[in-house]
Symmetry: C2
Subunit: 186 residues, 2 copies
DNA sequence: TTCCAGCTGTAGACAGTGTCTACGCCGCTC
DNA sequence: GAGCGGCGTAGACACTGTCTACAGCTGGAA
């Protein structure tokens, strides 16, 4: 395993470098260096820096999707809470990847197949919201959108330390609980 | 007006450049160029790129604070809705500035006096939440944190087009309404 | 008046980046 | 066996942020 062409190797090296040293270290030339090739080599597979970053981010979306797919069946409320925890846990466990995944200025977003990666994720959320019963009178899709934004905002602001500072908390769980209780009935 | 030393001029030029050409154009050398000085000049006042960006971002926080301070008195629910609209409107009107303000990797955050700029803003939000009555049993501070995260998430995801794509909406107002209804009673 | 010190901005260098282009090399096919 | 096409190399270019040495002007002291 692991010797399947330079293209995959670059992505693998990139993912590891991202996890180890953060987004700012994810240079085209550094990835090439760690892959043991010259700085021009990646160009054969990724004509531009954006495209390499996009390929790496896609790996992250696949990972997150897998995590979310792993939440067990059960009452929709429980599933939603597990999903929210998974989202936040992913952001905390892979801060560099999380940052990259939502840095749309780095992602050639159209190219990324965002529709294929994050829309199914949203669809799952929307189904669960409809099943659990949205609290507001708005359509389930709108409530699901607001809930998603809430989860994302918590993940983002928490990873920056802003929410700890503002609320004085040191555990994001109550925030998640409050967000879920707010948007959905059960 | 406008001839008060290079330091202020650099910040002014930076703000305009940011609004006009986006965050990626906000180069130390380009700012110097537009200010009509050599590339080394800014170093006297901003020893590092981060510090110039932080000074520019501070201008943004002041602007946002002013906008928020401009919401009229009235029932807390109305004030909250106006505040939410102001937050989102700011993000939509100044996308570059909004991006910069929350790019903590660019901001020498400790240096920025974040406590002085965004904590009062949060305090206002928390007061209004307490006044309007949080829907959840959680402490008002926690509910306010969740609501802030929700507003921020909506602003962020909307500015990326993700929410339009996911919910099919073309107006963020229903999302704001849903978020407010979710977190707070009146 | 003269001189000197300090602040301010200039100019050049350096390492690093992404991108582009010309060039070897190697294996495959005709 | 000869040619060719894909793959990786190597060098160049413009650009970035940072550092350092230097000029020019100012204001105050002798």
């Amino acid at each position: 395993m692991g010797d399947d062409g330079l293209r995959d190797k670059l992505v693998r090296v990139g993912v590891e470098l991202l996890a180890r040293e953060g987004l700012s270290a994810l240079t085209l030339r550094e990835v090439a260096r760690r892959a043991g090739v010259s700085h021009g080599a990646p160009r054969r597979y990724f004509p531009t820096h954006l495209e390499l970053l996009s390929a790496i981010a896609r790996e992250g979306f696949a990972d997150l999707t897998a995590q979310v797919a792993g939440v067990p069946a059960g009452p929709p409320g429980d599933q939603l809470m597990a999903l929210a925890r998974a989202y936040l846990a992913f952001a905390r466990a892979n801060p560099g990847m999380f940052e990259l995944m939502f840095r749309h200025d780095l992602l050639a977003s159209g190219h990324l197949g965002l529709r294929d990666t994050s829309l199914p994720l949203f669809a799952r959320l929307a189904d669960l919201v409809a099943e659990a019963g949205p609290r507001s009178a708005a359509p389930a899709r709108v409530v699901a959108g607001a809930l998603w934004a809430n989860l994302h905002g918590i993940a983002q602001l928490w990873s920056w330390g802003s929410l700890q500072l503002a609320t004085g908390a040191d555990d994001p769980e109550p925030l998640l609980r409050a967000a879920l209780d707010a948007h959905v009935l059960a």
